[in-house]
C-alpha cells in the first residue's frame, strides 16, 4: 500500500471557499455509484460522462472543493443539463441534484451571465405586455416573418376567448405563456374540473408567471419576486390547481424558495390538477361508453414524475375515458425543459428522438402531455399531442 493516507484528499485542505454556493453536505453525498447515468437524458443522448449527473457533480466538486476555474468547459457541462431531475428518484443516496444545479446557475447569474434571459424572462411576469407581444408574434407568424419551426415556437392564436370564474371552491392557476398561447387548454381543464360540481376561481392581476424559468436560469431574485406576486394573486384557503407540470412543481417549491411559513402554507395548497381529480375521481362523470375510447400514450413530464411524483394520476384520470398505453422508456425526459429546447436545440432534438421512438413503439392514436413545454417540443416533431384533460373534455363533450 504505497501512499495510504499521504495525499489526504479533502481531509485537511485549508477549507476552500464554496465558490458555487452549493451546500457542502449535499455535494459530499454523491458516492459516484453511477446509477443515475441511464436516467439522465443528456447522458443517454451523448454517452459522455460530463453530460451525466455524476460527471456534473464531479465537475462541481472540482470547482467548489479543489479550486478549478469556472471556465467555458464547466459552464457547457452545466448548461447542457435539462434540469429534468430524473436523476433524483434514481439516486439511492438521495442527492438533491436539482437544488445543487440551481445553486450553480445562481452563481453563474451572479457572475454576470444570463444577459438576455435576465430581460427576456421579465416579460413573462408582465401579463399585458406578454399578451400584446404574443399578438404581434401571432401576426408576424401569419405574415411568415418568424422562422417558427427553427425557434421551436408553436402556432400562436390571434385572439383568445376570455375565461370566466364559476365559483370559489378551487383556484385554477393560469400562468404566463400558457395563458397567452394555449388558453384553450385552460378552458378544457376548467370544464373538466367543473364537471365534478366544483366552482373554479381565476387569479387576478399578478397571477402571471410562476418564476420557474427564472429559477432554473439562476435568477433567484426575480424568481422570488414572481413567487410573492403569485401568492398575492391566489389568496385564501382554497386548493390551487395547476395544469402545467413545470409551474405546479415551482409553486410546490415556494416554501423552500422563500423560506417563510406563508410560503409553506401556500405550497401545501397546490395540487396538480390530475392529482386533485384522481383524489375526487368519484365526482367525475362516468363515460357513457357510446363512443370508441381513444388510445392515448401518456408522456410523463419530468416535473410531474420526478419532482411532484404524481404522474400516475394522469393515467388514473385518463383511464376512465381512454385506453392508456404506457411508454417503455422509464419516463426519460423529452428534451423540452422550459427554455432548454431553445437554448440547446441540437441536444434537445437528439433527446427527443429517443422519446419519439418510444412513442412509435407504443402505437397510440395520440400523446397526452400535462406540460405545455413538452407539448410544444413534441408537436414540433410532428407528434399529435394534447393536454390529458383536453382529451377528457372531448370525450365528455361528445357524450354530453
Amino acid at each position: 500500500m504505497s501512499a495510504a493516507g499521504s495525499s489526504g484528499v479533502g481531509s485537511d485542505d485549508s477549507a476552500p471557499k464554496p465558490a458555487l454556493g452549493i451546500d457542502p453536505e449535499a455535494l459530499a453525498s454523491c458516492v459516484a455509484c453511477g446509477l443515475c447515468l441511464p436516467h439522465c437524458p443528456t447522458f443517454r443522448a451523448t454517452g459522455e460522462e460530463w453530460a451525466s449527473p455524476r460527471g456534473r457533480i464531479n465537475a462541481m466538486r472540482q470547482v467548489q472543493d479543489h479550486g478549478a476555474p469556472v471556465d467555458r468547459t464547466f459552464l457547457a457541462a452545466m448548461d447542457t443539463c435539462v434540469q429534468c431531475r430524473g436523476c433524483e428518484p434514481a439516486c439511492p443516496s438521495g442527492v438533491p441534484f436539482g437544488s445543487m444545479m440551481e445553486a450553480v446557475q445562481a452563481a453563474a447569474a451572479r457572475g454576470g451571465r444570463r444577459g438576455w434571459r435576465r430581460w427576456g424572462f421579465r416579460i413573462l411576469g408582465r401579463r399585458r405586455l406578454l399578451n400584446f407581444a404574443s399578438r404581434l408574434l401571432a401576426v408576424a407568424q401569419r405574415l411568415r416573418l418568424v422562422p417558427s419551426k427553427r425557434l421551436g415556437l408553436p402556432r400562436i392564436p390571434l385572439a383568445q376567448r376570455r375565461l370566466r370564474a364559476s365559483g370559489h371552491d378551487v383556484w385554477l392557476f393560469t400562468g404566463c405563456v400558457m395563458d397567452a398561447w394555449q388558453r384553450s387548454v385552460h378552458a378544457a381543464v376548467k370544464r373538466v374540473v367543473e364537471s365534478t360540481g366544483t366552482g373554479v376561481a381565476l387569479p387576478g392581476a399578478g397571477g402571471g408567471c410562476c418564476g420557474a424559468l427564472s429559477r432554473h436560469a439562476g435568477l433567484e431574485d426575480h424568481a422570488r419576486l414572481l413567487a410573492v406576486r403569485t401568492m398575492a394573486a391566489l389568496p385564501g384557503d382554497a386548493p390551487i390547481l395547476v395544469d402545467s407540470a413545470g409551474c405546479g412543481a415551482a409553486l410546490k417549491e415556494y416554501g423552500e424558495l422563500l423560506g417563510t411559513p406563508e410560503a409553506e402554507a401556500f405550497s401545501a395548497r397546490v395540487s396538480d390538477v390530475h392529482e386533485w381529480l384522481a383524489q375526487h375521481a368519484e365526482r367525475l362523470p362516468p363515460p357513457s361508453g357510446s363512443s370508441r375510447p381513444p388510445t392515448v400514450a401518456v408522456h410523463d413530464p419530468c416535473h410531474l414524475r420526478h419532482v411532484q411524483r404524481v404522474h400516475q394520476s394522469v393515467a388514473e384520470v385518463l383511464a376512465r375515458y381512454a385506453i392508456v398505453v404506457p411508454l417503455d422508456d422509464d419516463g426519460l425526459c423529452c428534451g423540452a425543459g422550459g427554455a432548454y429546447a431553445a437554448m440547446q436545440p441540437e441536444l434537445a432534438a437528439s433527446i427527443r428522438a429517443r422519446k419519439l421512438s418510444a412513442i412509435e413503439r407504443g402505437g397510440a392514436d395520440i400523446v397526452a402531455s400535462a406540460n405545455p413545454g413538452c407539448t410544444i417540443h413534441l408537436a414540433n416533431a410532428g407528434v399529435g399531442v394534447r393536454h390529458p384533460l383536453e382529451i377528457v373534455d372531448e370525450v365528455l363533450e361528445y357524450e354530453r
Binding site: S2, A4, G5, R72
Partner: protein, 483 residues
Amino acid sequence: MRFPRAKEHDPLVADLKRALAPDRVRSAPLERSIMSRDASIFEGGRAGPVCFPLSTEEVQRCVQTAGRHGRAVVPRGAGTGLAGGAVPLEAPVVVVTTKMNRLLSVDADRRMAWVQPGMINLDLSRAVAAHGLHFAPDPSSQQVCSLGGNVGTNAGGPHCLAHGVTSAHVLAVEVVLMSGEAVVLGDPRGFAPGLDLRGAYVGSEGMLGVTTAVAVRLTPNPPTVQTLLLAFDSVDAAAQTVSAVVADGIVPAAIEMMDNNIIRAVEEFVGAGFPTEAAAVVIAEVDGLPGGVAAEAGRVAELAAARGASVRWAADEQERALLWKGRKSAFGAIARIKPDYYLHDTVVPRTRLAEIMNRVYEIVEDHGLLVMNVFHAGDGNLHPMLLFDRREPGVMARVHAAGAAIIEASLAVGGVLSGEHGIGIEKRDFMPQMFSEDDLDAQARLRRAFDPDEMANPGKVLPLGASCAEVNALGQAPEGVWG
C-alpha cells in the same frame, strides 16, 4: 453538445482528432479530470485525451495513434467498476465505448446476439425480452454498466449462482490488440478449436486489448419465479440457512443476504417493507417449471423456519421487483448514513460464512469504522462495505488497514481475493498473498503474449515486478492513488 475548442497544440490530441472527429476527442483539463475516476474510491488517476469511437475501425485508429505517440490505452465503459480498473494512471489515452452501444444482431433460435461493448447490460435484456430471452449475469449496476465492462471484469450478479458468471455467457469477443489488429477470440457457435483464448480474455480487465464486440449467450426467461424474503434474529442463523439450502441439493436462482444496517438504509429508499428490526434477511429466489418451483420454495421456507426465520412470499411481480430494487440499490443507499464507502469483494467457503462475518464485525470495530454487509451468500461472495467520511482526518488509513485485514482473514480460511469486481488497482498489491511468484509470472507472460509492450491498461492487476523480465513502464504506484 458544443464544447468550446481552443486551437490544438498537443500533437497527440491533434492526431486523435484527425483519426476520429474533433468533437469526439476531449482534452480540456476538466474533461480529463472527470474521466480520472470510476465508481471506486481511487483518486489520483490522471487521464490523457479521452476518445469516443463509434466503430471497431475507429478504435483501431485510436490505438494506433496512441501507439505512435508511445502512449498507453485504457478502455472504459460506463465507469461503474469498484476496483479502479478503469482509473487511468500516467495520462494514457482513454478509449470510452459508451457511444458504441448498438445491438448488432440477434439469433433467437440459437439464443445468441452480437452486441457492441457500450451497450448497457439491462438494455440488452430489454431488447431481447420480446424473444423470451435475457442476458443472465445481472450485476447490481446492471441498469448502467456496459457489456464491455462485464467482459473485462468477468462480472457476476445475484443470478449467477445458478447460471454462472459472465464467462459462461460469452461465446466470442472481437478485440482490438495494441498492435491495432482486430481479432475474434472464441466462436459465436460456441465451439472454437485450439486454445480457449476467449476464456483467457474474459476477466482480463482491459490488459489484453479493447473489446469492440461481444457474442453473448442468451438465456430463456424462466416460466415461473418465486421470491422469498427470510428474516432472521441472528446473522449466524441466516448464514447457516444458506449453507443448509445448498447442502439440501437446491440450487436457487439467487440467494442474497443483507445485515441490519443495510436493511435499514435500503428500506428508507425503496419502502419495500424490509423488516428493519431483523438482524439479517435472506432474499432467496427459485425459478423453473411451476411444480419444481413450488416444491423448492417450500423446502427453502422450511429450512429457514427451522432456523427461526419468518418467511414472506413475494405475492406478485411488483413485490418481487421491489425486493430486488432494494437489494440492487444497496450500495448507493449507504450515503444516507456516510458520504463515502469502500465496497469490498472477497470469497470464502460457504460453510465458513458465519465465522468470517463475525470476524469482519470485529475487524471493523477495531478500526473504529462502520460496516454493512450485503452479499451473494450462495457462493460465499462477501461484500462488506466500510462506511466513512473522507473529510475526517486520518480515516483513509484506517479504511485501508481494515480492508487489508478483511482480505487476510478471507484468505486464511481458504478464500480468494475477489469474487466479481476484479483486481484493478485495489487488490493489485495483495496478489502475492494469493499467488506464488510462478503463478504471477505465468499471468504476466500470458498478458505479454497479447500485449508485448504492456500498453493496454498498465499498472493494473499484476503487482509491479510480477514479470521476471521486470518490464514495467510505471515504476511504482503514483502518489495518492490510495486516497
